[in-house]
Amino acid sequence: MEKKDFKNVFVFAEQREGVIQPVAFELLGKARDLADVLEEKVVAMLLGCGIKDKAQELIEFGADEVIVVDTPELKDFLSEQYSQAVSQIILDRKPHIVLYGATTIGRDLAPRLASRLKTGLTADCTKLEIQPVKDEEKEFCMTRPAFGGNLMATIVCPNNRPQMSTVRPGVMQKMERDASRKGVITEFAPKFDTSKFKVKVVETIKADKEIADIAEAKILVSGGRGVHDKEGFNKLQALADVLDGQVASSRAMVDNGVMPHECQVGQTGKTVRPQLYMACGISGAIQHLAGMEESDFIIAINKDKFAPIFSVADLGIVGDLHKIVPMLTERIKKEMEK
């Protein structure tokens, strides 16, 4: 098999309970850019049970073709079931590039497939581009943070196909939805080897709906070690409430059990890009910065004037958040009443 036989940019269009996840649309936006440069097509893979009617949505967000696998075996995400289906599509269709969301699903599925297909995979890419690397030769360049976000590394996969990467939700821009876009919907029927299905779902416990997704928030008031405890976070919550925002957390306050994991911003938590990110009592470990520095406007309040958070803050206040935050909350309340 020669490299040139591998064509088109594929996207694994993640869905949960029949809802296509925002990251799928973001990946289609990036796939569209790449495919246009390569003069190839964008193909989305949509797998699940009872999801056929969602395929058109993927076309409207940039896919030229959607390969649909709609079967009861794929009702819940399970590694082996999904790996069998996707690997068969890949072996059959020979994509040039395959993109996955860097979610608990994508980061489970993509490495399993990379190992099955004996190809390269680059995790958590923040930049994907087709670039000349030497002479006239162009490569798919995948750039990602390494060393806990301290360094950026550009990775290439020159000899193996497909070239695969995962991308975090919130990093790429989706296209404007265009209801007039036309595309092809193809059904694919994988042949399952059910003898390998060793894992079964006993129960799925939904996370508390009260905890809204911080990645979707426009305003985040985020706390770190300097907030101390739950009581400290209540002050942040009060400020978030008057701003109609949400509370987020650094890793330290998740590891010590004060805040739930869903609220964690950073390398091992979520990447956020709100209009306003208020970092309160967060020193700004590089892992944390990696998850929030793309925010439109960053305000940091910290006692330590040498805290690294100030290097990314648009407005930095050296001071005691326990005094400032409640005063600020009262003041904004008054401003809003005007």
């Binding site: 399993r112 990379a114 590394a153 060793k198 209009q275 407005l315 005691d320 600020l328």
Partner: protein, 260 residues
């Protein structure tokens, strides 16, 4: 039950600082530690050992200095430690690393393999699932709880963004675990004695079941084309002021940005 735990020695990336002038990494004096998620994995193995009896073998791939974290594993309660160390492994990406580890696992007798979700230096979370595939084992990632049932199966909790899946797995499998779910135990006094009396076995590529061409740089589909320090953002304004003045500054900015 025989359990293999995969551990990696990593630089403590939370201790790495950036030179504010040159924008380069300051790596001097950064301590090496057992990767936190892997330590959580070892803790899970030791809990299963406490509950139902198990023989825990800790394996690692790395330079001879990685010996230290394997001794720490002994001190926590591991029974055997093997360090894969050979120049032939150098330059391995996740596929070549997981392949080498699979060659080691194949020479051992095991019922369960536990790895950390991801290492804090690479953050790829790929070695666990890639290893599971090389060994043709079912995998469960993002594990926050695992218990052995009377029928011998494992009941495992997998943490997703929006839910927890309770899964039952039959037969041998590989789990990747979250550090936050398994607070590691302290080293015991007898464990610390063991740590210095027990032998860390150092194995080369010749002792494991692999094809040499698939190891190290040659066996790695991905290559680092270039690496560079992260572009620094222009620093903003920083004020050391009274709380009253701070509130004023923030409110003015929020108005300017039309947030309030």
């Amino acid at each position: 039950m025989n359990i293999i735990v995969c551990v990696k020695q990593v630089p403590d990336t939370t201790e790495i600082k950036i030179d504010p002038v040159k924008g380069t990494l300051i790596r001097d004096g950064v301590p090496s530690i057992m990767n936190p998620d892997d330590k959580g994995g070892l803790e899970l193995a030791l809990r299963l050992k406490d509950e139902c009896g198990a023989h825990v073998t800790v394996i690692s791939m790395g330079p001879p200095q990685a010996d230290v974290i394997l001794r720490e594993a002994f001190a926590m309660g591991a029974d055997r430690a093997i360090l894969l160390s050979d120049r032939k492994f150098a330059g391995a990406d996740t596929l070549a690393t997981s392949y080498a580890l699979s060659g080691l696992c194949r020479t051992l007798d095991y019922d369960l393999i536990i790895a950390g979700r991801q290492a804090i230096d690479g953050d790829t979370a790929q070695v666990g699932p890639e290893l599971a595939e090389h060994l043709d084992l079912p995998q469960i990632t993002y594990v926050s709880d695992a218990k052995r049932l009377d029928n011998g199966n494992l009941l495992v909790h997998k943490e997703n963004e929006d839910s927890v899946q309770v899964l039952e797995v039959e037969g041998k499998c590989l789990l990747t675990v979250l550090a936050s779910a398994f607070e590691p135990r302290y080293m015991s006094v007898s464990g610390i004695m063991d740590a210095y009396n027990k032998e860390v076995e150092v194995w080369g590529a010749d002792k494991i079941d692999v094809e040499e061409g698939k190891l190290g740089l040659a066996g790695s589909p991905t290559k680092v084309f270039r690496s560079f320090p992260k572009p620094m953002k222009e620093p903003g304004e920083v004020h050391e002021v009274t709380p009253e003045e701070a509130v004023e500054l923030i409110v003015n900015k929020l108005k300017e940005k039309h947030i309030i």
